[in-house]
């Protein structure tokens, strides 16, 4: 029999429902896996009792003959960007160390309402700023993967949802929440060989999620496969009156409508995503993906998204601008860290608290954001970046005239070793080159594993869809998944 921790969300849900095993057994198995995986540093806080309580509730409901909730008996990992009532929430920062919210984020509450339990709070790049999970105040998350070259270089699990990607790939959780601002669900999913979808901006409430860049932040699921992502996204999404940017629309029944046949569908291949210096393996995988989608019945069309090359610079103006403002509230006055040396005045308290509390990457972005919003530079940077954003959105709108979804690689490389890029912020930012444009346009986009590179490391393919067409994205991703038959998994070394 397969170990319970090898099961994904659908398998657990069905198994609990059908009485193949109890939810408590599942929770206990994952709790044990979490406890035994300290070397990965994926979890900041473990909450085995939360997972057990949800499991017991599921088992009790089943015993009482009730219809089980959509995620009854499924324990998950919660990215530590989501505020969880009574459980410390730090966004992997020092400035929020010791902060325990008295409220529950809408997304996490939705998941509990769907019957899910929480295994713990997952590590991430500090305030979700990073592409390698090396900016956490509480240490790097290590990818469970190793290169097959015999070297044991610890690899980056991607960022910012690196704790989430690592936990799911290492079978510490069947699914985990992620947040995606410029690719923070898709890039880590690609790095560890799992699936992750960022839905249309506004599908998931941002209420109770610690803000990075408000106009971009969007929660989404990270799981083993497309079906699991569909199940979990259904549980997470929904209109929330507490978020003014939340979409007042019903949540579609994505799982029920999964369909891997793409007959009659047109898949666009954007030529601008063929970037200089992209490894041949990525290019080859992309071609393979095209062949798979053709095989699924899709027609392939070439499209042009001419403003793609401006997306990354625009993103690295807009996101830090919003971040500099969103992070102003961490001032040492109401919660979290407060550094007030003897005799210091208010100004000095702010300065000391923020100097101590924020890591280098966060400070870098606050400074960039403050600069681009300052009176003399606002038009040159921020206004210009917003114009670019509009042009990028228009590129996509034009593309939808000729195709239904787009297929691109998820990231320009496989996972790199920790430390390899951390000294070069610009090289690090390039990781997001394929994920950022769809974020700027607020579009649904998903990464699914397509294969491995020469070093045996996973590579992801990205499907980008029209606004609100998560179904189209999931279906195309499912078609890829079925043909890729990706079964590689990291050897357990931890």
């Amino acid at each position: 029999m397969t170990a319970l921790t090898d099961l994904g969300i659908a398998a657990i849900r069905n198994g609990v429902r059908d009485g193949d095993f109890s939810a408590r057994e599942v929770a206990e198995a994952f709790n044990a896996a979490v406890a035994a995986a300290k070397p990965l540093n994926a979890f900041l806080v473990e909450t085995p009792e939360h997972a057990l309580a949800a499991a017991d509730a599921a088992d009790a409901a089943r015993a009482a003959g009730e219809v089980l909730k959509p995620m009854a008996g499924v324990p998950i990992g919660m990215k530590d960007l989501f505020c969880t009532k009574g459980v410390p929430t730090t966004a992997a920062s020092h400035i929020l160390e010791g902060f325990t919210p008295e409220y529950e984020s809408t997304v996490s509450q939705n998941l509990w309402n769907a019957g899910a339990g929480m295994l713990g709070k997952l590590n991430l790049d500090q305030f979700a700023m990073g592409s390698s999970n090396e900016t956490s105040y509480f240490g790097n998350v290590i990818s469970p993967w190793r290169r097959n070259d015999g070297g044991n270089a610890p690899l980056a699990p991607g960022g910012s949802s690196g704790g989430s990607s690592s936990a799911v790939a290492a079978r510490l959780a069947p699914g985990a929440t992620g947040t995606d601002t410029g690719g923070s669900i898709r890039q880590p999913a690609a790095f560890v060989g799992i699936s992750g979808i960022k839905p249309t901006y506004g599908r998931c409430s941002r209420w109770g999620t610690i803000a990075f860049a408000s106009s971009l932040d969007q929660a989404g699921p990270m799981a083993r496969d497309v079906r699991d992502c569909a199940i979990m996204l259904e549980a997470m999404a929904g209109f929330d009156a507490k978020d003014a940017t939340s979409l007042d629309l019903p949540v579609p029944n994505w799982e029920a409508q999964l369909n891997a046949s793409l007959a009659g569908k047109r898949v666009g291949i954007p030529k601008e995503y063929r970037v200089d210096g992209m490894p041949a393996e990525i290019e080859a995988l992309w071609q393979q993906g095209i062949a798979w989608l053709k095989d699924a019945g899709a027609e392939i069309v070439d499209v042009s998204l001419p403003h793609t090359k401006y997306a990354l610079p625009a993103y690295y103006i807009i996101a830090p601008a919003e971040a500099s403002s969103n992070l102003a509230r961490y001032d040492g006055v109401r919660y979290g860290l407060r550094d007030l040396p003897e005799g210091a005045n208010l100004q000095e308290m702010y300065a000391r608290t923020r100097a101590e509390g924020f890591g280098n990457e966060v400070k870098r972005r606050i400074l960039i954001g403050t600069y681009v919003l300052s009176a003399g530079f606002y038009d040159a940077y921020y206004t210009q970046a917003q114009k670019v954003r509009t042009l990028i959105a228009r590129d996509f709108e034009r593309a939808w005239d000729v195709c239904d979804v787009l297929l691109t690689p998820t990231a320009p490389s496989a996972a790199f070793a920790l430390g390899e890029k951390s000294a070069d912020p610009l090289a690090m930012y390039l990781n997001d080159v394929f994920t950022v444009p769809s974020s700027l346009a607020g579009l649904p986009a998903m990464s699914v594993p397509g294969g491995v590179d020469a070093a045996g490391l996973p590579l992801g393919l990205q499907v980008i869809g029209k606004p609100l067409d998560e179904q189209g994205v999931l279906n195309a991703a499912l078609a890829l998944e079925e043909r890729a038959g990706f079964t590689a998994r990291p050897a357990k070394w931890w």
Binding site: W207, S215, A241, S325
Partner: protein
């Protein structure tokens, strides 16, 4: 006050100076909840008892616009005939200060809810139109208290996030009196609309006063801004002081520095708070947590139809009823008085008589008692009844005064007082004739003198008759019957 036809001038050593005034009025929107959270807004609550997670800027909290605050700002704009922008947008104004928990204030710099409008004022016999450039909606900040602890500042976030309308005038005012008249009129309009209670002493309305001086006809001079002045009188004082100070500086060969100043009510003077050089570098950008505000026609129609009759229109209507312009002005200046008077008219009182009675008798009495019309012991219904008793001859003028005094004391209806105290006027000719006969019989000397030509004694007989009847006789009937009896 000076004759309005003579422009207000400051006499300087180098000649006359003109003062140019613009006002930014911050008016707290009357609503039960804050602009972007559900927290309450009651004045005078214990510190930090009206603070939601959003107001305290807890991690992950998001603002959601309060429809009622938007509605009130739109109605206010409509009341000053302003352009209502169906598309407006909230911006963040970023700057660090401990009274600002989010580190920014949500305001509307680039696309305000309300555009150009105007307020008509009267100074002396002149009317003048003061332009309003815009009204935007924004959050109030919290309050910092520095005097509670030797080394700490205390923060009270009760006001943080409360909705304010910033009503920005054009620099159209030219004297402290005009500024006073503008504020008075604006406050009156806000109270009519019900969008702000206008209570300056509670901070729900305050003004930033922009003042510059120039030689008449010159270009605008450099202005200073005196922040947060909280009474109309102080605004006028601040202008007077600041204008005189600027003239002194300029005449001494100095230049005016654009700066923010504070008004000291105790000394009536202003002092520098911060100059432009160390002013905050506000960083503005559209608030990404909020979508642009888009208003539909149904919402605007509802706002428009919910507007009450406004002071100028009401005043014209009163004048059309024959009420004197002065009385019409007095009755419409404050919404409470106007409402009271309208109820009185609705109860059937004759407009002119009612206006005279309200402005003299009622307002006089309230003044004496130190009460406002809002807590008048006499209701409009009771006043209508009193006026009706005078009109139908039941009460004479003097009896009416007696009854009114009793009404003020007891709060009873006039009919009840008349009944209980037997104050009804009598026109019973038989009874009056009997009393007259008695008076004439008792005063043979005066009768003799009257008949021999001293007709001025007629008043004496009227007085005696009225006195004998306890003041309740109908004076007209007494006159008629006396004339008859005296031949």
């Amino acid at each position: 006050m000076a004759d309005a036809s003579t422009p207000f001038r400051i006499k300087g050593a180098t000649g006359d100076w003109e003062v140019v005034i613009g006002l930014e009025v911050h008016a707290q929107v009357s609503s039960n909840a804050k602009l972007f959270s559900g927290a309450a807004t009651t004045f005078g609550a214990e510190p930090n008892t009206q603070v939601s997670l959003v107001d305290a800027a807890m991690p992950g909290m998001l603002p959601v616009p309060n429809r009622e605050c938007i509605r009130q700002a739109v109605r206010t704009g409509m009341a000053i005939d302003a352009q209502i922008n169906k598309w407006s947008r909230f911006d963040r104004k970023n700057y660090f200060y401990a009274d600002l928990p989010q580190g920014y204030q949500i305001s509307q710099l680039y696309h305000p809810l309300v555009g150009e409008g105007a307020v008509e004022i009267e100074v002396g016999d002149d009317t003048k139109t003061i332009g309003v450039e815009r009204i935007h909606v924004e959050q109030d900040a919290g309050k910092l208290m520095h005097d509670q602890h030797p080394t700490r500042s205390y923060v009270d976030l009760n006001r943080s996030g409360v909705a304010l309308m910033e009503i920005v005038s054009r620099p159209d005012m030219r004297s402290p009196a005009e500024a006073g008249a503008y504020l008075t009129k604006l406050r009156s309009i806000l109270r009519y609309v019900g969008s702000c209670d206008g209570n300056m002493d509670q901070g729900s309305m305050r003004a930033d006063v922009n003042v510059s001086v120039r030689k008449p006809g010159d270009e605008f001079g450099t202005r200073t801004e005196t922040k947060n002045v909280n009474s109309i009188r102080f605004v006028m004082q601040a202008i007077e002081h600041e204008a005189a100070r600027q003239v002194d500086v300029l005449e001494a060969g100095g230049t005016i520095v654009q700066e923010t100043r504070l008004f000291n009510p105790d000394s009536g003077t202003t002092r520098s708070m911060r100059s432009k050089e160390d002013a905050h570098d506000y960083r503005y950008f559209p608030d990404p947590d909020l979508l642009p505000l888009e208003l539909d026609d149904a919402f605007l129609d509802e706002c428009r139809t919910s507007l009450p009759e406004l002071p100028d229109v009401k005043r014209a209507r009163y004048e059309g009823l024959g009420i004197t312009p002065y009385n019409a002005q007095v009755l419409t200046a404050e919404v409470e008085s106007a409402r009271w008077f309208d109820t009185l008219l609705d109860a059937g009182a004759k407009p002119v008589t009612a206006a005279n009675w309200v402005t003299s008798e009622l307002f006089g009495a309230l003044n004496r008692l130190g009460k406002s019309i809002g807590d008048s012991p006499v209701t409009p219904g009771q006043a209508a009844e009193l006026l009706a008793l005078v009109a139908d001859g039941t009460l004479s003028g003097s009896l009416a005064k007696q009854v009114f005094e009793a009404m003020l004391e007891t709060g009873d209806a006039p009919g009840k007082i008349v009944e209980e105290r037997g104050l009804k006027q009598t026109s019973d000719t038989g009874a009056i004739e009997a009393v007259i006969a008695d008076v004439l019989a008792k005063n043979p000397g005066q009768l003799e003198q009257y008949r021999s030509g001293k007709v001025a004694l007629f008043g004496f007989f009227v007085g005696q008759t009225m006195k004998a009847m306890g003041g309740k006789a109908n004076p007209a009937v007494v006159n008629d019957l006396l004339k008859k009896a005296l031949g």
